[in-house]
Point group: C2
Chain length 444, copies 2
Amino acid sequence: MNRRDFSLRLAGAVGALSLGNTRLGASARDGASRQGSAALRVNGDRINQHLAALSEFGKNPYGGVSRVAYSDFDRKGREFVMGLMREASLDVRIDTAGNILGSRPGSSAALKPILFGSHIDSVPDGGNYDGDVGVLSAIEVARTLKERGVTTRHPIEVVIFQNEEGGTIGSRGMAGHLADKDLDLVAKSGKSLRDGINFLGGDTTKLAAAARKKGDYAAYVELHIEQGGTLDAEGLNIGVVEGIVGIGWWDVIVDGFGNHAGTTPMDKRRDALLAAAKYVQMVNRVVTSEPGRQVGTVGRIQASPGAPNVIPGQVLASLEIRDLDQAKIVRLARKVMDEATKIGAENGTTFTFKETYLSTPAMMDHGVQKVIESSAKALGMTTKHLPSGAGHDAQYMAELAPTGMIFCPSQGGISHSPKEFTKPGDVINGANVLLQTILALDAA
Amino acid sequence: MNRRDFSLRLAGAVGALSLGNTRLGASARDGASRQGSAALRVNGDRINQHLAALSEFGKNPYGGVSRVAYSDFDRKGREFVMGLMREASLDVRIDTAGNILGSRPGSSAALKPILFGSHIDSVPDGGNYDGDVGVLSAIEVARTLKERGVTTRHPIEVVIFQNEEGGTIGSRGMAGHLADKDLDLVAKSGKSLRDGINFLGGDTTKLAAAARKKGDYAAYVELHIEQGGTLDAEGLNIGVVEGIVGIGWWDVIVDGFGNHAGTTPMDKRRDALLAAAKYVQMVNRVVTSEPGRQVGTVGRIQASPGAPNVIPGQVLASLEIRDLDQAKIVRLARKVMDEATKIGAENGTTFTFKETYLSTPAMMDHGVQKVIESSAKALGMTTKHLPSGAGHDAQYMAELAPTGMIFCPSQGGISHSPKEFTKPGDVINGANVLLQTILALDAA
């Protein structure tokens, strides 16, 4: 993807911003000076009230939310946020892929829209911040611009992607990566993607109409909770995302020989679980043997036949490695496989690795990163550049437009849990950085 | 259990036998001298033919048998072997606990019966030797005595215990350890023990009538395949079982903290599976750290939530330790628990052990062991004293009478598998040792 030209232009804009906001003018016309724009702030209480109101849709009795994509709760939650979008005077529509779009014209007809947003669907037993913070802040940004009479040069468009948690389905549709055959996949709601998208108001018979081309948008920006605990632990305000890590997944099968646990002496065993146990430790050792922020996880393990009185003949396990550098993912995986072969040789077991998924890292645009950082600093906030270990809709938007992500802290790094929590002040900080980033990109 | 008096009597008899079979007389009256008895041999071809015939009841298309207790195959198989018992002129009945008993009077009205037999039920996907060899050899012993006109002093009784594989249910009933409340347990067949026992011709309303008292039998002897691979690996003919190991079972719960595998740095994890992996290796190390034949196994493991992209927050695993010395079982388990606490401390996880089962080792009678050994040696066979790592009906019979077990080799030690195999010659050897053991015990 060649986004360099646009990046350079943005980098120029940032240079202007970093000169103490002295370059005024063309960026904010009708009713707001550049100085005025820099002073703009969202209505933070309103965002947090909206977060509380949205949390009612699919609320769990024990806390958190289960607003699974394509469920009734999902559809009702979407109706609620579409209402908020209309209050912000956005022109709301649902594209054929089921994504909600709310647009507002800009002053310059020749310019492409700046897109920003996130998602409101949750995992089962999820929390009230993952996705929601980005969506409600995006709507609040649009509402602030309207209330303060600011017309941007670029059109702006707020997006609520459908079914992010089920595999960034909405953004895949917008990037043109959702084929008709994919639509038979059954989502967590029990509906197929096809039925789910149509249930939300999309039209899967015209899916191609939802696809955008590279260059259709001037930029994409997404505010999201960090999910990791880095910002919280280090007491920082804002994360500037460098990229979304690539992910490699492998199914791992360890074959030994199942036998009677009472009658088979210790030195005559080909215990698949004993080999798998060494494998789990080895993965941890190999992944931490190089400097860097790569992570490696064995999340799944099951021994069969799985009785306490039978030596496991087979173990099914997993391997996941994530990093911003795909070459590193592949190198570490190869090392894991080599070491596993040695472990197997020790007790007559064999390891088989089957690659089930390998995604390319999606780098965030350098220019947009600089705008986010400058915007945060201008607001007096502390920042840190960091990778996103989790996947986001932004990874597909990065194919279409220069893309950036803003992280706000997530307490204890807990996410996908009813315990997920971001302090109201941190939500407001994130929304103000989003607002200033959109304005700065618009001024570029 | 005080079985010493009877053991001493048997030991005396063995002493006599070991003097080169010079003490003839009272043991084998009507039609067979003691010398004649020592020369008696079973019809080995007939046993192996019967093994093949019995294998048809519940035969798997891919080999082996699934003659699960209380199934139609089980009942039909029992009808087949009851026919064989009648051919051997045994007086056949089913006790109220569902066990099949076939008796033949002895010459001395004052003497208690000598009991011998095994079981014909199998595990699902089991083999054709576990249990069957003991049952068909026992019937063949009775038939040989009949055909050769040998009347023993003691009455003899051939027993086919029901549902050995589901927890030695029939022998528990005979030992008086089956309570009415136990009968609600659902067996592998899908039937409750109650329905299953009645289906086989037992009468659970009169279960107490099946219970025998200590002293009701003069001895119990069981021929069984070894299941372990010791005799096969060492090229030996006969195993003289020293005892049936005690078994300790624990459920093991490892609690960590489940979190996003992409966003949680390696040094911030409380990975329950990483701790569990160290535990599995540690169990192996602790169990093999002392000399002896004890075995320790982790047969079950499951990580939750069990997704490749989530750090396991909890792992459920098992611990099993078996040995002939219960003190050793307890000592090793305590060591495992101490070491597990240390492993947990390394990454902030906790281990909880819940004892779910702890059985007492059942020692075989020393006198009967000597008779088995002498009988085998007199037949020119090699022997080895060894523990039974598997449970058997003999462990309950040991509460009622001096008890012994004869092992014949099991190829590769494979059992509970369609691949289970004992060579025809080894089956015949086992049956001849059983025959000679019964005769020697009768002569005591």
